[in-house]
Amino acid sequence: MNTTRPYVRPVPWYWWLRRPAYVRYMLRELTCVPIGAWSGWLVYGLVSLARGPEAWTGFTDGLASAPGIAFQILVLASAAYHAVTWFNLAPRTMPLRLGGRRVPAAWITLGHYAVAAVVALALLVMGVV
């Protein structure tokens, strides 16, 4: 008679510390937390705007405070890290072909940076005008 008794190794909670690539992956995923909090803060800004000048001033004072600025730097760093990792992965997610040939991966990544730059510039111009 042939019987087996397979041994299943449990996955420990610290599995993501086992390889540097897992740690980088977790960092990439964790960038959503400050970005999510920032989105919530912006919604709070809209609510403050609707409430009147006093609430709005409170919101802008919060933005300009030292903890506010530190948090915004963290949000910017998170968004930049997420964008860079995502743009680097884009050629594998969206491989393009032109005239039956593969578009080089670097072109797809650079295209993403170009679109991001144009959108950022447009938003900046709209904000100033």
């Binding site: 041994y7 897992y22 969206m94 491989p95």
Partner: protein, 245 residues
């Protein structure tokens, strides 16, 4: 050819006697040109005939000798001992049940391969004679046809360990290989499995499946492309249905 003693530690599990795996060390006289598999063969032939492991071709074609080498999933036949001056610790592939010593249970993987229906499902009758395909049509899927089923990608994927039902990188990449084939019309049938709760949406793009692949297949890329395709299906399907009625 110079020879040096290398400490090889192997995670052993003998289901008749062991409740859990334990490490066992061997001092092996290794030559400069030896790979890890050579050391395992030396142990089996000269030091301990009870050691169990899989191997066949010794040239990175059969995909049998995948093991964890110092915590990294690698092919034993493609990993030179000279790159490990301090010795190696060899364990069975992570995320898979251990049958015995370095032998893992592959039955679940076979079921996953079968589940994605990895064969051509042509539209209508197959042509009489030869299928014709241009080099450009071949180039679309050829990369994903290079998989040797070594399971290194399953050992590298944390989602495989965390979600036992997940189809996993190799099976999904193989499904993608057929989805991209110009001779195939079975994508909708495969999507019933690949877009299900155990399919592509279990992947969170850790990307290590592609990093460890000895054949440079890119399962992570394949899975993201499948996510994009099934998202488009979700949006476009009602429109297509409306257009056809």
């Amino acid at each position: 050819m110079s020879e040096r003693m290398v400490r090889i530690e192997v995670l052993r599990y003998r289901p008749e006697t062991d409740d859990e795996p334990t490490w066992q060390g061997y001092d092996v006289p290794c030559r400069d040109d030896w790979v890890v598999l050579d050391a395992l063969n030396h142990i089996k032939d000269h030091l301990d005939g009870t050691l169990s492991y899989r191997w066949s071709c010794h040239m990175a074609v059969c995909g049998s000798c995948g093991v964890m080498i110092n915590g990294e999933p690698k092919l034993g036949c493609k990993t030179f001992l000279r790159d490990y001056p301090d010795g190696v610790r060899i364990a069975p592939l992570e995320n898979l049940a251990i049958e015995r010593d370095l032998v893992v249970d592959m039955a679940g993987f076979g079921d996953r391969l079968a589940a994605v229906q990895p064969y051509l499902m042509p539209r209508g009758a197959a042509p009489a004679g030869t299928y014709r395909q241009t080099p450009a049509q071949l180039d679309r899927f050829q990369q994903y046809a290079m998989c040797i089923n070594c399971l290194l990608c399953y050992a590298a994927c944390p989602q495989v360990g965390l979600n036992p039902g997940y189809l996993g990188p190799a099976a999904l990449a193989l499904a993608h290989r057929y989805d991209l084939d110009s001779r195939d019309a079975g994508r909708d049938r495969r999507a019933e499995v690949t877009a299900s709760e155990n399919g592509v949406w279990e992947c969170t793009f850790v990307g290590e499946c592609s990093a460890v692949c000895p054949e440079s297949v890119d399962p992570a890329g394949a899975i993201q492309q499948m996510k994009l395709a099934c998202s488009l299906d979700y949006v476009l399907h009602p429109l297509r249905k409306g257009a056809s009625s």
